[in-house]
């Protein structure tokens, strides 16, 4: 199945672990952001468990998670767009689903966001009423006024005592202060000089035994009425009065502390706390709006990204079966019938997948049967082709319009034409292209036009070659098969067979009496030559010598016949051709000075499985034949070889060419038959034996005249 588009799988074509992390990471980020969106609370008023959005760890983790989600979403969008542009299966459907889902989900989300923002803002504004703020402010001012009235009373109570102070009499000042503190029920009375040093002090509270110089305005100006403050040390509130001692010669101040009324203190404290709380809340509303808006925006962003991510997942889930179906269909179209779809679930898509799988199974089964049948047919065709190719008879087939369909190598050899170039031509076209085949084509046309199912006919190709044609019409007018054999070759084989029989009989009937005849002639000569007179003796000598010589000649002839007739007893071995040729040639170089032999055998010639003795005899006969044919003329023999392929068969062709008189036309057709020779000398069996040896090795021999004269013998020995 072609690798199709996968949502969420990414193009990270790397290690499975990284791919798993890449798949899992956005989901973890989305889960974390979702948790934050649910639990974030910036108001600090949540009752449920909440997360502070301003916590650094939360801000950092949310930023990282957002970055991951944005990156993953962007990557998926780009990946999907690219897949859609490449028209990958399911990509465009997924893209359309995602767009639709976003169109459905985002508007309500935006609406909810805007409404929430407005609600938050209006709600926060609603918490604050100007009347409440004013009332609280007024109440605070009332409390401050009450404090001031109380402090005013204390200020007035101090006046008589201030009038009694004379800083030039410091001992008296201390006494006045001691007296005043008791009378006024004060906590502390201290007089500071212009140098901020204590002139005199009285304290009724241990906290103020060591009084500190009071805080004054930055310019140090106290004013005529002095300064009144309210302190809140531990244990209750305290009124602090700082009064300038203007009547003194040196500027000095009186610091007086009075206990504040307890009940009044509680009330003013409570009022201050409530006012402060309201003021604080009023101030925080902008920050609250800011924080809540940020949280809501964050939730919107997370929701939008989550929606996009879920849209991807949902689109993947919805388009996955359709994508699988498209990919499976494409795979089937490309010939892969093993593809199957998952059948999970019980919805319509699962039913479709089941139907698809059944259909594919049936297709696969049918395809298997077809392939099996095709294989069987192919096997039979190959077997038939091999058989046809191997048989020695020529086989050609024609279709119903007599167009040439098939031919074997033997047909091409017998017809001596290259039929592979004319396959598909009709018999009429064959006659035009190869006129030598016109008798054969005409015979086939005539036979096919008749109603006969089978016919046989002898066809003459030229003057010396005759073919025996047997043709059979194929069933259902599918054409015909023509088988033909070389009738000349058949006749030659019959003659060779007859000669073989003659040779065997000669060898058997004549060879045996020859030795007694020779012995008898020598015995007569030996016994009677000495007894006869010179004239008779000379006659006897001549006669017996003639008898012995003729018997020797007969023996040679019988031996030649015996050699020709003997049954082949080959001892073939895998060996190189060159050493055998060179060995025979070397013999002739030593003895025949008028004979020049040139050998040109290629070094890459493959070894042959031959009987080296028989091969030597074959070469010897060819060279002897050439020598005898040349007579007393100078003879040049050229021996070379090459590898030749014909169809599925390969041969080594050994060529022996000479510059002799060549082959006479009268003996050309029967050159390799016994006692067919144009030479004055020789037994007439040499070339017949050569042919027999070649055929013993499964080879072929052909003889022809060379282009520059002389004879050329081509011996083909199979590899």
């Amino acid at each position: 199945m072609a690798s199709g588009y996968r949502l969420g799988c990414g193009a990270v074509s790397s290690a499975p672990l990284i791919r798993r992390i890449w798949q899992l990471l956005p989901w973890l980020a989305a889960a974390w952001l979702g948790t934050l969106a649910l639990l974030l609370d910036g108001s600090g008023t949540a009752f449920a468990p909440s997360i502070d959005p301003a916590a650094p760890s939360i801000m950092v983790s949310a930023g990282i998670a957002l970055a991951i989600l944005v990156f993953a979403s962007t990557a998926r969008v780009l990946q999907l767009r690219a897949a859609a542009r490449r028209r990958e299966a399911g990509a465009r459907l997924s893209w359309r689903l995602i767009r639709h889902m976003l169109w459905v989900a985002l508007p309500p989300l935006l609406l909810l966001y805007i409404a929430s923002m407005k609600f938050v803002h209006s709600s926060i504004e609603g918490w604050f009423q100007p009347d409440v703020a004013e009332a609280l402010d007024n109440a605070l001012q009332v409390a401050q006024r009450a404090v001031q009235l109380d402090q005013g009373n204390q200020r007035r109570a101090l006046e008589p005592w201030i009038a009694r102070l004379d800083l030039d009499q410091r001992a008296e000042v201390a006494a006045v202060l001691d007296q005043a503190i008791d009378e006024l029920n004060a906590l502390e009375l201290t007089v500071f000089g212009s140098d901020r040093r204590i002139i005199a002090s009285a304290s009724a509270d241990p906290r103020y035994l060591l009084p500190l110089y009071p805080e004054l305005p930055p310019n140090g100006f106290v004013g005529a009425d002095g300064i009144t403050l309210l302190e809140s040390p531990a244990g209750g509130q305290v009124s602090l009065l700082i009064v300038p001692l203007t009547a003194q010669r040196d500027p000095a101040i009186l610091q007086a502390r009075f206990p504040f009324d307890t009940r009044m203190g509680q009330l003013t404290r409570r009022l201050e706390a409530q006012t402060l709380a309201y003021t604080r809340l009023s101030f925080l509303r902008n920050a609250l709006r800011y924080t809540l808006s940020a949280v809501l925006s964050f939730v919107l962003l997370v929701s939008a990204l989550g929606t996009l991510f879920l849209a991807f997942a949902l689109a993947r889930r919805l388009s996955s079966p359709i994508r699988d179906l498209a990919e499976a269909t494409e795979a089937i179209a490309e010939g892969d019938l093993a593809v199957r779809l998952p059948e999970d679930g019980d919805d319509e898509l699962s039913a479709l997948a089941r139907s698809f799988n059944r259909m594919t199974a049936r297709l696969a089964s049918a395809d298997t049967r077809v392939r099996s049948t095709q294989d069987a047919l192919e096997s039979e065709r190959a077997f038939l082709a091999t058989v046809i190719e191997r048989i020695s008879a020529g086989v050609i087939t024609f279709d119903h319009d007599l167009h040439l369909l098939v031919c074997n190598s033997a047909a091409q050899d017998l017809l001596e034409v290259d039929l592979s170039a004319v396959i598909g031509l009709s018999t009429g076209q064959l006659i035009s292209a190869l006129p030598t085949l016109s008798p054969l084509c005409e015979a086939i046309e005539a036979g096919y036009s008749s109603a006969a199912l089978e016919w046989r006919q002898e066809v003459a190709l030229g003057e010396s070659r005759r073919l025996l044609l047997r043709a059979t019409r194929l069933p259902e007018e599918a054409g015909l098969v023509a088988v033909f054999e070389d009738q000349s070759e058949a006749n030659r084989q019959q003659r060779e067979s007859a000669w073989g029989e003659v040779a065997r009989r000669l060898a058997h009937e004549i060879k045996n009496p020859l030795t007694p005849i020779q012995l008898a002639a020598e015995r007569i000569r030996h016994r009677y030559l000495s007894r006869l007179g010179p004239d008779d003796g000379q006659v006897l000598d001549r006669a017996t010598t003639t008898i012995v010589a003729q018997v020797d000649a007969l023996k040679s002839m019988v031996n030649a016949f015996s050699e020709y007739a003997r049954a082949p007893r080959l001892s073939p071995q895998q060996q190189a051709l060159a050493p055998i040729v060179l060995e025979v040639v070397e013999l002739y170089r030593g003895e025949q000075q008028r004979m020049t032999i040139e050998v040109a055998l290629p070094p890459q010639l493959p070894p042959l499985r031959v009987d080296s003795g028989r091969l030597r005899q074959m070469l010897h006969n060819l060279l002897k034949n050439a020598s005898e044919a040349a007579g007393d003329s100078d003879l040049q023999v050229q021996i070379d070889a090459d590898v030749i392929s014909e169809g599925s068969r390969a041969f080594v062709e050994l060529r022996v060419a000479d510059n002799g008189p060549g082959i006479a036309e009268s003996v050309r057709e029967r050159l390799f038959e016994p006692y067919v020779t144009s030479k004055a000398k020789g037994s007439g069996l040499g070339l017949a034996i050569v042919k027999r040896i070649v055929e013993e090795h499964g080879g072929q021999i052909r003889a022809e005249n060379g282009a520059d004269g002389g004879a050329v013998f081509r011996l083909r020995l199979p590899l």
Binding site: A287, R289, S293, A294
Partner: protein, 165 residues
């Protein structure tokens, strides 16, 4: 603040976090007055949002941190010294509360700043490599203020780490 202006504010705050200027805090002077005591003088500038928050009753929590660094590697800070500033409207005084010391009230902001700029001497172990830092404790601000305090420059009350001589 209207809804629209609030949006603009959010965008501006996100885009220009460093544009607004408010409070600042930096170490003006730092010296060892004894083997294990360091006197620090700060320059405190309470303007903008922090000052408004203080005026409106928000407590500003601060911490003085100490840590020891050796060749660029710093240990975890020692326990901090905490102080906080707040405003009491009834008394109309600023209160500076220093760790383990009674609160000090200041009727005037310059006095408060003066007190803040001259904190009591700090215990710092003897030896080189010590650093000090004074910063606002954002985590102890009211929750609505924490996010602006994290994001906005005017809330950046932090001296950063300063080496003790």
């Amino acid at each position: 603040m209207s809804f629209r202006s609030h949006w603009i504010a959010i965008v501006l705050l996100l885009l220009l976090p460093g544009a607004a200027r408010g409070g600042s805090l930096r170490v003006a002077e730092l010296q060892r007055v004894a083997a294990e005591r360091v006197q620090m003088r700060l320059q405190v500038d309470l303007e903008g949002a922090p000052a408004q928050a203080l005026e409106h009753g928000i407590t500003l929590p601060l911490v003085i941190q100490r840590r020891h660094c050796v060749q660029g590697s710093c240990n975890a800070p020692l326990p901090g010294i905490y102080l906080q500033v707040r405003y009491a409207p009834l008394q109309e005084r600023y209160l500076l509360e220093h760790q383990d010391q009674p609160a000090r009230g200041f009727a005037f902001r310059p006095s408060l700043l003066d007190a803040m700029e001259n904190p009591p001497a700090i215990m710092v172990p003897a030896g080189a490599g010590w650093e000090l830092r004074v910063r606002l404790r954002v985590r102890h601000l009211p929750p609505p203020l924490r996010l602006p305090a994290r994001l906005e420059e005017e809330w950046r009350l932090d001296t950063g780490w300063v080496a003790v001589p």
